[in-house]
Assembly symmetry: C2
Amino acid sequence: MNPRSADLVILSGGLDSTVCLALAARDARTPPLTVTFDYGQRHRRELDSAASVARWYGAENLVVELDASKWGGSALTDPSVEVPSTGPSDGIPATYVPARNIIFLAVALGIAEARQADAVHIGVNAVDYSGYPDCRPEFIEAFRLVAAVGQKRGVEGRPVEVVAPLIEASKADIVRQGVELGAPLELTWSCYLPGPRPCGTCDACRLRAAGFAAAGVDDPALAGADDR
Amino acid sequence: MNPRSADLVILSGGLDSTVCLALAARDARTPPLTVTFDYGQRHRRELDSAASVARWYGAENLVVELDASKWGGSALTDPSVEVPSTGPSDGIPATYVPARNIIFLAVALGIAEARQADAVHIGVNAVDYSGYPDCRPEFIEAFRLVAAVGQKRGVEGRPVEVVAPLIEASKADIVRQGVELGAPLELTWSCYLPGPRPCGTCDACRLRAAGFAAAGVDDPALAGADDR
């Protein structure tokens, strides 16, 4: 049996969720429990990053397998849909995965309740969210209501808290916070494609690069990639 | 590629979800898509029932694997916790699975969006719900809000509808509706244990027996079990 963690952090292995973990770890007395989803995404590179980041924090990394490629509907889970490379456009992009954060938060609430964690932390970000509806404050609010009325924990006492500390931050703010907290940004992976190096042209790469540039920081993950 | 179903029905293979499917099938122009969760429950008997019921309706049965026994927290997913057999007691029972319907609805919303279904039907029931918070009207309401604000479908147009037609029905009403609609109740499995015959003493068996008795109907699943 693992020791109780007061905090659960949804960790994709990307920049935002790593900084989210850094914040939770700073404020926690026991290492957070990290949860990573193997959901049939195009590559396992980010799962490796999540495992490395969790290890860096001495945190357990629970990998939840849920194969969303069974139903598809996204460039990230359906190989027949191309990942856009021409930069962010208006509207919700092809990389939107139907209900992804709804599913992630739902499972995280279940794990938090079973493992007696008090809070679920998620690194969603509404500023550079690239059009994803499940990264906005009104979505997080709706999910707080679900936790309050739909769980034993919520009905019998204090609901599992849903914490989204980066929701109003710009990508540059996130980079700055990560650097300040000494987060292992060199271990993170944001690119929608498998690598070995970030493609530099998908929306995730473009947003990340713009964030580091605006923060005036060199991306340590790119330096690391050059060395390989 | 499967043809588009306008309706998605969460089908456990039990009485309530089968009657829920019967209602959706009655009103639909194309057979509903049924979704069944293999979530690490104690036995596969109900998965077989779900497959049989779906086949009976000519409906596709998509089985989603998500191993909740990885985190436990329930008599239904943790073999070290016993299934109660002394009848319903006050409060939320040991068979409560943390966030089960939150997770089921979350995944169902994702599948509905990816497969362009307009509605998700769930057979939750607040009357004989045996203390589960995620079977109550306020929970369904909260999830409707999640669908409206957290999905592309909800943001761009009409959200995926969340339909819970049995939420106010008694078990006897559900039995009566099932009989009236000619639903294959003989194929359903409610017992928390694997069988070969329903145990008769778990809460699910007790509620089912009381429902059939109150409706004045013999349970065809018991007759079938006697013949085996």
